[in-house]
């Protein structure tokens, strides 16, 4: 034992004697994680969140969340002498006078965009592989909560500088609040501390943005990760992988190195974007003034689909008992997003109700093997994508020489027509892929070699696939649809007959599959070849 090792050992036992951490460390450092690139998508979110905390803390050193009116005397010449809020002036100061301030602002904003992109991509992975199934429903709900909070946090963040674009966004938020029947105008007065814009809003959303929501984020992310730790990570099926084990590499040293390295890469990519690509150039927008608005005012992308829904909404209003109900804002601004987020959060329970499957699942599905779920996911994505595209309709119209009216009508029709088409096409594609898998197992791989038989017939030589591959393609289970009784033993209709009938029908649609190749079929065909 060298002197250095002795010193290290002494320090370690000193700490261990007082904390008892060695046993815990030993157990947890050996924890095994499965390896797949898509399991790193959640890490992108975690690391962007850390970058957001670090860069955001830097920004708070100079940002002045006040709506006090000041006359700008700073370094940016085109605004010198213009009246603006102290918040906007300090955001300009961060951009032009604080060393590294503009870089930090841009890193913060790019990290926010990548945080939200990461959440959506991670959510897509979890959804399409069925990782939300028992026992992970709670973690799924926490994830949906993080997505929702991320949208709100991002919106508040780009509202803080009090530039023309952010003020326009707050104005729209105010309109959505006011569209809530009965209490809307009271809520709006409550949120803004009086009439829009007032003097209270920026200080209020500042506290929510830098204290309240980050605190909730930290708590939720901690629980999210602890649940992953406790429930173990899911894995794709493969040789030796079962519902009862985890095949992968230990945290120490493999994942320590990989995850640590990946953090720096995420930081690097974000810093690279912050260094080379302009984001939210507030000095060009000018200070907020309720009398001004810019063409092509857009929210950040994660709000863009909501803006797109509002933009395509027809002018529907009803006049009820002396009050106007603005369906044109209420439906796209609150009702549709409400339905979508609730549906998203409840999906694990809906699916288990449809399949009647209450077992734990730690092995992931290939998306093609759950055609109905995959089709529902693609349908929801299509809906969101159509509304996101309509959110940028003016930019798209000028870029591609289209008319904004055509864009709007396209979106109004597409948002109703395209999602069902996407559902049908995706389900068909999944079933076709299942059929291709079945062919591959039964007939082997096409080699492209043609052989002429003595009879003159041409035959393509098929090569059998490896047993591992064949196992992979047939290991998934194909659930039979539910068959709930509609009539009880005495021949009387059960009270829940109608409900059971509906559930049976949905379950049948959900269980549609191409029967996977069985061992018997395979043996039989082997005799042929």
């Amino acid at each position: 034992m060298t002197a250095r090792e002795r010193v290290a050992g002494n320090v370690a036992s000193y700490v261990d004697d007082r904390t008892g951490g060695a046993k815990w460390m030993k157990k947890n450092l050996q924890k095994v994680f499965p390896d797949h690139w898509s399991f790193l998508l959640g890490e992108i979110c975690l690391y962007s969140f850390i970058i957001l905390l670090l860069s955001g803390t830097f920004l708070t050193f100079w940002f002045d969340p006040s709506m006090r009116e000041v006359v700008y005397e700073g370094a940016y010449e085109p605004l010198q002498g213009v009246k603006m809020s102290a918040a906007y002036a300090s955001a300009l100061e961060i951009s032009f006078e604080v060393r590294g301030g503009l870089l930090m602002r841009q890193i913060h904003h790019w990290a926010a965009l990548i945080f939200m992109v990461g959440i959506v991509v991670h959510l897509m992975r979890v959804f399409f592989t069925g990782a939300f199934r028992k026992p992970r429903e709670f973690n799924w709900i926490i994830g949906v909560g993080l997505l929702t909070l991320g949208i709100v946090e991002g919106f508040l963040g780009y509202s803080l500088p009090d530039d023309l674009l952010s003020g326009t966004g707050i104005r729209i938020a105010e309109a959505i609040i006011q569209a809530i029947p009965v209490v809307g105008s009271y809520l709006s007065y409550f949120a803004f501390g009086g009439a829009f814009p007032g003097l209270a809003f920026i200080p209020r959303i500042y506290v929510v943005h830098v204290l309240l929501l980050p605190g909730i984020f930290l708590a939720l992310i901690t629980v999210h990760l602890m649940l992953v730790w406790y429930q173990k990570h899911t894995q794709f099926p493969g040789p030796g992988r079962t519902e009862k084990n985890v095949v992968g590499y230990p945290l120490m040293p493999v994942y320590m190195a990989k995850a640590g390295g990946f953090f720096f890469i995420v930081f690097g990519v974000t810093a690279f974007l912050g260094a080379v690509a302009s984001i939210n150039p507030i000095w060009l927008y000018g200070p907020y003034n309720p009398g001004q608005v810019s063409a092509g005012s857009q929210p950040d992308w994660y709000m863009g689909w909501l803006d797109g829904l509002v933009r395509m909404s027809p002018p529907l209003e009803t006049y009820l008992f002396g009050y106007t109900v603005s369906w044109n804002i209420l439906i796209p601004g609150l009702i549709l997003p409400g339905i979508m987020f609730t549906g998203l959060a409840l999906y694990p329970f809906i699916e288990s109700w449809i399949t009647g499957d209450k077992r734990e699942h730690h092995l992931l599905d290939r998306p093609r093997n759950a055609p109905n779920r995959t089709a529902i996911g693609v349908m929801a994505l299509t809906f969101t994508l159509v509304s996101l595209i309509n959110g940028g309709n003016d930019i798209i119209a000028t870029t591609f020489d289209l008319t904004i009216n055509q864009m709007m009508w396209f979106s109004r029709i597409a948002i109703i027509v395209l999602p069902p088409i996407a559902f049908i096409v995706t389900k068909r594609l999944c079933l076709s892929l299942q059929r291709a898998d079945r062919d591959l197992v039964l007939h082997g791989r096409e080699t492209g070699r043609l052989v002429r038989m003595p009879s003159g017939e041409f035959v393509e030589v098929h090569e059998p696939i490896t047993p591992e591959k064949a196992w992979l393609l047939t290991s998934h289970e194909q659930l039979a649809p539910l068959e709930l009784p509609e009539i009880d033993g005495a021949g009387v209709r059960r009270p829940a007959a109608i409900r059971n009938k509906i559930r049976n029908r949905i379950s049948r649609a959900h269980a549609v599959a191409v029967p996977k190749a069985t061992e018997t079929e395979r043996r039989e065909l082997e005799g042929h070849h």
């Binding site: 990548i114 674009l165 890469i265 990519v269 974000t270 974007l273 150039p281 063409a295 992308w301 930019i395």
Partner: protein
């Protein structure tokens, strides 16, 4: 007489007479040349009108009518003024390339002299806004950037975007970018209100305010890309696009590489 002849021999007589003679000759010449100048002006103006009319008949009358009275497909040009012609033809919008939603800015078809002749001809039909002279357009001296920015955001940004990059209007019409436009043409656009644009009369925006707007546009035009690549200065749409392509693309690429190396 005696007195006169005495004065004639006075010491100062020579210089006084010389000055008097020079003054007389000078004044006479001045008057004569002014008359000449006026004649020349009138002559060059009528020449310009004649040339302009010729160009008009050749290039414009098929749509605007032989006497610029307008037809179903094109408006009357009587009373639109020289400024309007200078803007529409000088920025290449007229003659139109095709009958689309609105005339596009393109390389001018006519030379500056021909544009001047056309403008003079159209202005001769009925009075209208004149082409602003260089002395009026001294925006560097008479304009203020900060005020121009405020005025631009109040009056122009709702169609032309916060950085003057242009934006979409209804039915395929659009507000074009104001970047790279000559100060004269920006001024003319404000006083004549081409296509979907409203007229900003001197009561709405005084000439000084117009110059401030021009000064701000020129300052935005020459502003370096402060935060890095400007991404078109159209706001969050291009930013989101970059995050969804380059940003997440790079990160997923690295994730695939990290997971692949372990095998």
């Amino acid at each position: 007489m005696k007195r006169l002849s005495r004065l004639r021999r006075h010491r100062a007589a020579g210089p006084v007479l010389l000055i008097f003679a020079l003054f007389t000759i000078g004044t006479t010449f001045q008057v004569a040349s002014a008359v000449n100048q006026e004649n020349a002006n009138v002559q060059s103006r009528s020449a310009a009108i004649a040339e302009g009319k010729e160009i008009f008949l050749r290039g414009c009358s098929s749509c605007h009518g032989l006497n610029a009275e307008g037809q179903e497909i094109a408006p009357s040009l009587i009373g639109v003024g020289a400024a309007s012609v200078d803007f529409q033809v000088g920025t290449g919008r007229m003659p139109m390339a095709d009958m689309s939603q609105q005339a596009m800015r393109k390389a001018p078809v006519y030379s500056p002299e021909e544009v001047h002749a056309l403008a003079t001809y159209v202005a001769s039909l009925a009075p209208g806004p004149a082409v602003p002279g260089d002395e009026l357009l001294n925006y560097e001296r008479d304009g203020s950037v900060a005020e121009g920015g405020e005025l631009f955001r109040t009056n122009c940004a709702m169609c032309h975007n916060f950085a003057g990059q242009g934006g979409a209007l209804t039915q395929g019409k659009y507000a074009p970018t104001v970047m790279g436009v000559q100060p004269k043409h920006i001024y003319e656009a404000m006083i004549t209100g081409p296509q979907a644009m409203p007229v900003f009369s001197d009561k709405t925006l005084t000439p000084e305010e117009k110059l401030s707007i021009i000064k701000w546009i020129k300052s935005a035009e020459s502003e370096p890309q402060l935060g890095g690549v400007a991404l078109g200065r159209v706001g969050p749409v291009t930013e989101g696009l970059l995050a969804w392509t380059l940003g997440i693309g790079l990160l997923i690429g690295v994730a695939v590489w990290l997971a692949a190396k372990a095998r």
